[in-house]
C-alpha cells in the first residue's frame, strides 16, 4: 500500500519535472522560459519530497523530517534566484515577447536598489 502511494508520488514528481524541462525547451523568450524550471518543478520536487518522507517515515527509523527542511530551503532559494535572473535580464534588455515595462532611468534604479531576497 505504502509502496503504491510512494510510486504514484514519484511518478507525479517525475512528470512535473519533465514538464518543467519541456517548458525550458519550448518557450520562446527568456522571461517565459524562467517560468518552466522555477515553477512546474516546485510541485515536481514537492511530490518527490513527500514520497521520500512517507517512505523513510514508515521504515521504522522514526519520523523523517529532513524533507521539511529541504522544502523550506528550496522555497526560499528558488524564488530569489528567479528574481535575480529576471532582474539581470531586465538590466540587459533581453528580447522579450511581452511589451517592456516603461523603465525607470537605470542609473537611478541601480543606485539604491535592494533586491527582494
Amino acid at each position: 500500500m505504502i509502496e503504491l502511494v510512494v510510486s504514484v508520488l514519484i511518478l507525479a514528481g517525475a512528470v512535473f519535472t519533465l514538464i518543467g524541462a519541456l517548458g525550458l525547451v519550448r518557450l520562446r523568450d527568456f522571461y517565459t522560459r524562467l517560468h518552466g524550471p522555477t515553477k512546474a518543478t516546485t510541485l515536481g520536487v514537492g511530490s518527490l519530497l513527500v514520497a521520500s518522507a512517507v517512505w523513510f517515515s514508515t521504515r521504522g527509523a522514526g519520523l523523517s523530517l529532513h524533507e521539511v527542511l529541504v522544502t523550506l530551503f528550496l522555497f526560499i532559494t528558488a524564488p530569489v534566484s528567479a528574481h535575480l535572473l529576471a532582474k539581470a535580464a531586465l538590466h540587459q534588455r533581453l528580447h522579450s515577447l511581452a511589451p517592456e515595462p516603461e523603465s525607470q532611468p537605470e542609473s537611478a534604479a541601480q543606485s539604491e536598489e535592494t533586491d527582494a531576497g
Binding site: 517560468h35 518552466g36 512546474a40 510541485l43 526560499i76 532582474k87 539604491e112 536598489e113
Partner: protein
C-alpha cells in the same frame, strides 16, 4: 513600535532587546536546528537555542528592523492558501506548456505595494515567484511598486487584485499590524 515616552519599562525592554534582538528568529533557528539534527534530545535543543541566540546577534546589521509577527492564525491560513495556489497553478502552467507556447500572452504588470517592511516585501516577492505563472522581476528603488512578469496575462487588473487580496493583505496583517 517602541514607545520611548514612558519611563523604566522601555529601558528594561531595550536591555532585553539587546540581549535577545530577534526572539522569532531565535525560535525559527532552533526549530531548523532540531530538524537538521533530526532529533529532539535536550542536548540538541540547547545547542539549537545557542545557535538561535548567537546567529541573529552576529547578523544584527542584516536585520535593522525588529522582526515581528502577529496573528499566527492568519499566517497559517496564508501558508495554506499559498500551498493550495502552488498546487492549482502548477497544473495550470503545466497545461499552458503542453498546449503550446504559441498561444501564450506573456506580459509585465506593475504591482503597487502597500507593504513597507523589508521582510514583508521579500516574502511577498517570494510568494509571487513561487506561485507558478508569475515571477517578481524588480522592486522599484522607492519600494512602492514590484514589477511582475506573468506567463499568460489575460487581465492585469484581476491579477493585481488577486495578489493584493490573497497574499498582500494577510502579510500586512501578520508583519505590519501596528
Amino acid at each position: 513600535m517602541n514607545n520611548p515616552t514612558d519611563g523604566a519599562a522601555p529601558a528594561a525592554k531595550s536591555r532585553l532587546h539587546r540581549l535577545l534582538p530577534h526572539p522569532i528568529l531565535t525560535a525559527a533557528l532552533t526549530v531548523i536546528w532540531l530538524l537538521l539534527a533530526n532529533s529532539v534530545s535536550a542536548g540538541q535543543f540547547l545547542l539549537g537555542l545557542l545557535f538561535g541566540w548567537a546567529i541573529p546577534r552576529f547578523t544584527l546589521r542584516f536585520w535593522p528592523e525588529r522582526v515581528q509577527a502577529r496573528r499566527p492564525l492568519v499566517l497559517l491560513r496564508f501558508i495554506g492558501v499559498v500551498l493550495y495556489d502552488i498546487l492549482v497553478a502548477n497544473l495550470a502552467v503545466a497545461w499552458l506548456i503542453l498546449r503550446g507556447p504559441q498561444r501564450l500572452r506573456p506580459g509585465f504588470v506593475q504591482l503597487p505595494l502597500d507593504l513597507t517592511s523589508d521582510l514583508a516585501i521579500s516574502l511577498l516577492a517570494n510568494t509571487i515567484s513561487l506561485t507558478p505563472g508569475t515571477v517578481s522581476a524588480r522592486l522599484s528603488p522607492d519600494r512602492r511598486t514590484l514589477l511582475i512578469h506573468a506567463l499568460d496575462l489575460t487581465d492585469s487588473a484581476a491579477l493585481i487584485a488577486a495578489i493584493k487580496s490573497r497574499y498582500e493583505a494577510p502579510l500586512k496583517q501578520v508583519f505590519e499590524s501596528c
